[in-house]
Symmetry: C2
Subunit: 234 residues, 2 copies
Amino acid sequence: MEFKKLSSPSLKELFIKEMETLILSGRLAIGEKLPPEREIAKSMQISRTVVNAGISELARKGFLTIKPRMGTFVADYRKNGNLETLISIMNYNSGMLRKAEIRSVLELRIALDKLAIESLIPKVTEEDIKTLRGYVEKMKEAETLREVSELAFSFQHELALLSGNTLLPLIFMSFKELVLNLWERFCRLYGKEALYNNTSVLCDHIEQRDAAKAVEWQTAVINETISGSRQIYY
Amino acid sequence: MEFKKLSSPSLKELFIKEMETLILSGRLAIGEKLPPEREIAKSMQISRTVVNAGISELARKGFLTIKPRMGTFVADYRKNGNLETLISIMNYNSGMLRKAEIRSVLELRIALDKLAIESLIPKVTEEDIKTLRGYVEKMKEAETLREVSELAFSFQHELALLSGNTLLPLIFMSFKELVLNLWERFCRLYGKEALYNNTSVLCDHIEQRDAAKAVEWQTAVINETISGSRQIYY
DNA sequence: GTCGTTTTCTGGTCGTACCAGAATAATGAT
DNA sequence: ATCATTATTCTGGTACGACCAGAAAACGAC
């Protein structure tokens, strides 16, 4: 039995979480003006330092718009949000995503994996394949769902790195929390052997430099997951 | 003659920029331990408030790792970076990107646009098309390069929104600075009429619900840009 | 009512101080 | 001298209170 490392969230994190909840639940309407930082601090019984830093971060996440010396306003995160916003939304729903969002992630993954695989195959070396295979092997031995999921993610990330497209790994990183979440649920549903098997077969196709088969396989796997996603969505 | 709205960057922004420069130039090596916040503040003659907030933001961007009560360390942004990191790297090079990165962006756009178009076509309404057409019309009248670029971006963003995939618009937003930058250069090279024309034809194909033609056109346009990118790259 | 002035409001920044965990130095028993 | 224990230092997290300067609102003279 392993224990997860515990760490109490900082005040700033608590503050951010609280504000996100207020905004995402609609209790703070879009466009609404927030009370002055001083009032928020007083009412929440925290220092203005925390409020100021927290608001600044929420602005970067697309939830707020700061107009210096005029006030802070709730932004339309659906229009101005970025990927980080989505992670926050997901965390707000205690790790749950709507079916539409799961579908969106998986559709996107088909497109991105396709790009990664097709870019990689023409230039892949034995060395590269050995690296990829390493992650697959580790997956076989992994104990916890989290471990398997992280290894599957690492495999994907490595694939993106090796593809030569400098943006792909960055996008995958932005997605990390999201994908890990999905993989864990996938494993709870189909077992971690299924995830291992899927990855392993993909790796085989890559080893044989068969881009078409690799893409086809991966697309099929993800499409199947989409079909079954009503079960992942709970 | 128009004047751009000026705004002096805040101290925090200056601090962040400075640190990014130090890290990206290599003067702060990866893994290196930063001086204590107090020393940085003293040496830069700013308050620790700014340093603390700035470091916090740099950590979120993947440039630093904060270990409370132990110190702050330069992270390997190439491995832990996300899309925001890339924007920072681009800004560090005063808006320039390496050819590999331009190519990466454009390759990615082919994949994403394809997904957006194919998701949109089966369900697009007259209303949607009117919205899209609106941006195209505005492009015709736009004066500055920046305006045209922003409208082209808005068109893409709207396309992503209408596609029904909830992630696409968020990704496009994460990309915003990058894409605007590329569009501006594209216009300087081929003229803003070219950008207008490209978008307009794409809109036509969408209006005729011809997904294949739309994708084909957009792919061709972007591929052409890739071929000519040695000129964008300077 | 209109225009110019003063006051208030607000986010940005500053400086100091305290907290508590981690690392290191100092201490003391064996 | 060695090693466990304790005291000190270091460091990021947080708290207060204060001032700055731009923007808005209140005010006042006409």
